[in-house]
Symmetry: none
Subunit: 378 residues, 2 copies
């Protein structure tokens, strides 16, 4: 992560230095994105003020350490972290109250909120439209994470009117969250997101929505591939109604292209020879293989590489307490937990634990000596 | 994992006891699945013999401890772990050489290999067609894992001719690998897999294949959702040519249904009012939300409706031990753990705990009294 806003292409005024983060930031909307920005900024010493139409969200975000209730104090910079259709309204409200020197937003579509802000006569000089590309299928403050934006892209789509001060403040917030600010146009952003985010959401939801076509017994055949491909289907309907409605043209065009590809493949499978059918599939899969290699790495830096250790648990109360008490006593910090597989029908479950790589071998030894069945996940 | 083969529905002879695993198993095909079965069986003390048309795969599998080269010794049971189109041929070869008492396979499609085996005049009494539902987007012996099948479903599709001995040996291999054997018909299996596995593969590959539509600069906007939804696109073209060609009718039908859904959504996005467009999207996403909850837990039994309680943790060793020790002392059984969010940058983390619904309120009270910040996940 550099201290410079990188342009994605031919945008004018591409490079802009970003300074330290604003000292006091107000966040409108304390859901997943707003609370995560709060957590990240707090860890950098920024004073964070939180608001939300849902008071419960602010309470949870406060308890997590994401900031404190915004009681109308003026701030250097405000982040509008609400669904796309509500951005222009919040922008106008903030301006009228005169609460923030500069403003950015986080909406996943850009063209439509900008058009709405222009139509509503909002002040455009103090606003830098933006979009941090990070999220989770589950929203709400309780899902917030301080590291949600680390190594992610934070897109800035400044308008011709946007002041250098607003761009710099937005980039500084992005950098303080560990993200890489990049700059592109609202139109390019929306066209790219139609393929990279909105169509995957549509497809995940449509695939999941077909589940009721199968009997419960047949669903026992669902493997990890189906779960992963439909993970996004757990997303919030209201939020996604706002996002996809806000990018109608590009999403519709992408949906039609995919539909045409599916029909073309169906035709070969139905009517082609066995060789032609296998050839067509091989072609599609091979093109996917090749294209995936063109995805950029997340800014060149490797993901934090934890070592994963799996432990088999007996199915009785107290097993987890006893396990984590031992791990705590050994001074090992648990970084993440995953893939806990366990039910009353099963004599045993598995809990997988992420730890720093240099303590994994020692942990395995200690677990083994303590009578646990443990293994290292490759 | 129980010692019984569970039927998925109306299949006759649904329950069959499975004994200990065969003492000597031969594996034809030492790729991801074959080598993983070898690793799992070796860890249970089974003698494993390995073969492959690619000698390199056997070498890698041997080095990993998955077994030793199969030099033509007779075995109790043979597992054919090759792509679907090659199953019938290997079945006939094994039978001619008289090497195995009973045989199973692992192909992801069942109807077509069975038809081919019937047409080729293979012996059907000693063969139990089967399919362990586990895999990775990376194939080859080097990707093999002893725990690949733990808590997964291993589908058995015995024919009317299949001997009880062949079914029992196949179920015993599945159980020895930590999987739950379930029984269904080849037709039901193939129809379910078209939705649960084959269509997700097609969609992942088609989405990934559209990447070249975007400039390299626009690809910087790809987030985790796109990476996850296209993860399967890294799969092997040759293997998937064989799988999808082997299940042409159901895959074509599923592809056409999804295409129709996509076109229907595109029409509303293009021509509907803003409200109608947002409504249509909300409907699709909400249907996906609801349907996803119908997916069973990983070994075939439906997930129970647990209540989820979230607890905010300070970032220091021992917090988890102290939490789970208290929970154990209160006699509350933890059914699942999820969404542990925590990093070195964050002042706090969240652990979410699934418990029986009737104890959730009491647990929340006790946690509050014990000084924990806890909430109920809606």
């Amino acid at each position: 992560v550099t201290g410079v806003v990188v342009s994605t292409g031919s945008e004018p005024g591409a490079e802009a230095a970003a300074g330290p983060p604003p000292r006091r930031v107000g966040i409108v909307g304390s859901g997943l994105i707003g609370a995560s920005i709060g957590l990240a900024l707090r860890s950098r010493g920024v004073e964070v003020l939180l608001s939300d139409v849902d008071a419960e969200q602010v309470k949870v975000a406060e308890a997590m350490g994401a900031g404190r209730l915004w009681a109308g104090e003026p701030v250097e910079h405000a982040v509008i972290a609400v669904p796309p259709h509500a951005v222009a309204g919040e922008l106008r409200r903030l301006r009228r109250a005169g609460l923030a020197n500069t403003v950015s937003d986080v909406a996943s579509v850009k063209t439509k909120p900008i058009a709405e802000a222009v139509r509503a006569g909002c002040d455009l000089t103090s606003w830098c439209p933006a979009h941090p590309i990070a999220g989770r299928e589950r929203g709400g403050a309780a899902s917030a994470r301080a590291d949600l934006f680390v190594e992610r892209t934070w897109v800035l789509c400044p308008l011709p009117h946007t002041s250098a001060q607003a761009v710099a403040a937005t980039a500084a917030v992005a950098l303080a969250c560990g993200a890489q600010p990049i700059r592109t146009s609202a139109r390019r952003h929306d066209r790219a997101m139609a393929l990279l985010s909105h169509l995957p959401q549509v497809v995940a939801s449509l695939l999941a929505a077909a589940i009721p076509d199968l009997d419960a017994a047949d669903l026992a055949l669902a493997g990890q591939g189906f779960r992963d491909t439909t993970r996004l289907a757990d997303s919030d309907p209201g939020l996604w109604g706002s996002i996809l409605e806000g990018n109608r043209g590009p999403v519709a065009a992408r949906s039609r292209l995919l539909a045409a590809d599916l029909v073309r493949l169906a035709e070969v499978l139905e009517s082609g020879s066995a060789d032609a059918a296998a050839d067509a599939v091989r072609g599609v899969v091979a093109r996917g293989n090749a294209a995936r290699t063109r995805l950029p790495s997340k800014h060149g830096t490797p993901e934090r590489a934890w070592a994963w250790v799996g432990v088999v648990l007996a199915d009785r109360p107290g097993q987890l307490g006893s396990l984590f008490t031992s791990i705590g006593r050994w001074g090992v910090n648990v970084e993440d937990i995953a893939a806990f597989e366990h039910s009353l029908d099963s004599p045993a479950g598995i809990v997988e634990i992420a730890v720093a790589p240099d303590v994994a071998d020692d942990l395995l030894d200690r677990l083994g000596a303590g009578g646990w069945t443990a293994y290292r996940r490759s």
